[in-house]
Amino acid sequence: MTGVAILTVVLVLLPLFAIFAYLLYKGIGSINLAFLTQTPKPVGEPGGGMANAIVGSMVILAIASVLGVPFGIGAGIFLSEYGRNRYGDIVRFVSDVLNGVPSIVIGIVAYGLVVMRQKHFSALAGGVALAIMMVPTIARTTEQMLLLVPQAIREAAYGLGVSRWRTTLSITLRTATSGVITGVMLAFARVAGETAPLLFTAFGNQFWNWKTDQPTAALSLQIFTYAISPFDEWHRQAWAGALVLIILIVGAVAAVRIAVRHGTLAGA
């Protein structure tokens, strides 16, 4: 039976290595300066790149973070500092359930909220969709990190006459900073590769766009469009885009892991 268990591990790890190996093999050959600096060329012309999509993704993610992170952390503080009761349990349960809502459904909601009102697709709508996805994840990880902070530290602050809000912000949250950032980055990594909610919110764009109320290109959308197209040149660029996307995401997660290892929480 031990053999069977080991076999399952091998079977599970095989696709992982296959995906990464193939991604590196296809992607590295396709990334060049043009890919990182130019916008897409019309069909048939070789060259061109995804520069606008890379920037577009960053803009959408920045909007999502600005909208989602404060609410997420606030909800996390509520759960750990004010929510050790039935109301907290409700919020906890709802955010776990929200975590499982399909991302495409979130896209519909953002479409109704922003696109229908503005009458056109926009980076803002994409950001709203991703922000909705970030909030529950951040809330739960923030809560867990704040709960790791020993009660004695809070009591020490109270003992010095520090008010409760000050204690929460400058003592509890401060102590758990690296853990909270981990949670935020994990949520960020999770939404960074999302495509489904952007299909009918950010929509995609072949050109540079700096306005947040206009259709905006995103890396994941561009990969999707290129992957299902019939052109070899576009397939090549889809692989390059996927590699860039993975590097951005894995880079963020790895940076966070290192930060946590050297962070304050390790000693707490």
Binding site: T8, Y82, V91, F93, Y158, L245
Partner: protein, 344 residues
């Protein structure tokens, strides 16, 4: 008590309470003392702002439900429950029936579970029970990495690697050996229900195995030792001492994986073939609820068309909510230290 003439004086200190409930009680008793006046201006303000953030999470759920219900009203009035039993999807004649999509979602997700469950349980058992400690970290990191790959990259890989592999080797093999069942017949396109099931399985294995691992670690060590002491082999110990105890949690992990598979969009859309028909063969192309949204939402011209699509979104939402809620309750029942058997 009442039949005693005098209350007996109690000298012994009350037994200290234990457990999370007791901790909450102590906290409730000491908190006001520690914080002085709780209702001071800034404190009260801060408290309410944080409560508002908590409320916002609940409000988000309400907002999602509201948007979906309002958006799908038109289609609901036009078709009612029939919407889910009709298999005719014809935007030209404004006739909408979601049955092929419901069928595709259920079949592809179940297929994914059939492939993923044994594999992920194997991985979970291996990492908690057999694997040397230093390998454990690496394994959990790699499975985490699998979960971090975006769905669209899975789809890309599936189109260019998995589908040709299925077309050239797996499907001909299945057709010759199991073709008589009718499940594996027809032309081997590569693209189709089978490809969707396989890529979904690859995507949900990290979820199921990491939660199953979490559940297995909670099983107390003395359970294992007790079973071993009765003369069980290691495998019997795992089966009787560990898996049986964690049953409810493992079922929860599987259902959580199912929830993810039901809502998965991009990778499935890229390989399932996107044809709204109900076929017995797994080689045939299909369509899922999530992929029809991905493909047709931006092209929906009429109000009824859009409304029908939103209704599919609403159905998808409710199914995943129910599935996830069930799974959470099962997982919580184990990891919060209640006896697992009461629920299973």
């Amino acid at each position: 008590m009442s039949n005693q003439a005098l209350p007996r004086p109690r000298f012994s200190a009350p037994e200290p309470e234990r457990g999370p409930q007791a901790a909450r009680k102590v906290e409730a008793r000491t908190a006001p003392l520690l914080q002085g006046k709780v209702s001071e201006g800034p404190d009260a303000f801060f408290g309410w702002v944080m409560r508002l953030c908590g409320l916002a999470v609940v409000a988000l759920l309400g907002l999602i439900v509201y948007q979906l219900i309002v958006g799908s009203e038109l289609s609901w009035h036009a078709f009612g429950w029939k919407f889910f039993w009709q298999s005719d999807w014809n935007p030209v004649e404004d006739q909408y029936g979601a049955l092929p999509f419901v069928f595709g979602t259920i079949v592809s997700s179940l297929l994914a579970l059939v492939i993923a469950v044994p594999l992920s349980l194997g991985v979970a058992v291996f990492t908690t029970e057999m694997c040397p400690i230093n390998l454990r970290g690496i394994l959990s990191f790699t499975t985490e990495l699998l979960a971090a790959i975006p769905s669209v990259v899975y789809g890309l890989w599936a189109i260019f690697v998995l589908v040709p592999l299925l077309r050239e080797y797996v499907q001909p093999f299945l057709a010759t050996t199991l073709g008589w069942t009718g499940l594996f017949s027809g032309p081997p396109y590569g693209i189709g229900m089978l490809a969707a099931g396989v890529i979904l399985a690859i995507m949900i294995i990290p979820i199921i195995s990491s939660i199953a691992r979490e559940v297995l670690t909670v099983v107390p060590q003395h359970q294992r030792e007790a079973v071993l002491a009765l003369g069980a082999t290691r495998w019997e110990m795992i089966r009787m001492g560990v898996l049986r105890n964690a049953r409810a949690g493992i079922v929860g992990a599987i259902i959580l994986g199912l929830g993810r598979a039901l809502g998965e969009t991009m990778a499935v859309t890229m390989v399932i073939g996107n044809r709204p028909e109900i076929a017995k063969s797994l080689f045939a192309p299909g369509y899922t609820m999530a992929s029809v949204l991905a493909n047709e939402f931006t092209e929906a011209t009429g109000d009824l068309y859009l409304s029908a699509l939103i209704e599919i979104g609403l159905a998808l939402f409710f199914v995943t909510i129910v599935v996830n809620a069930l799974a959470r309750l099962l997982v919580w029942s184990v990891t919060r230290g209640q006896p697992a058997r009461s629920l299973a």
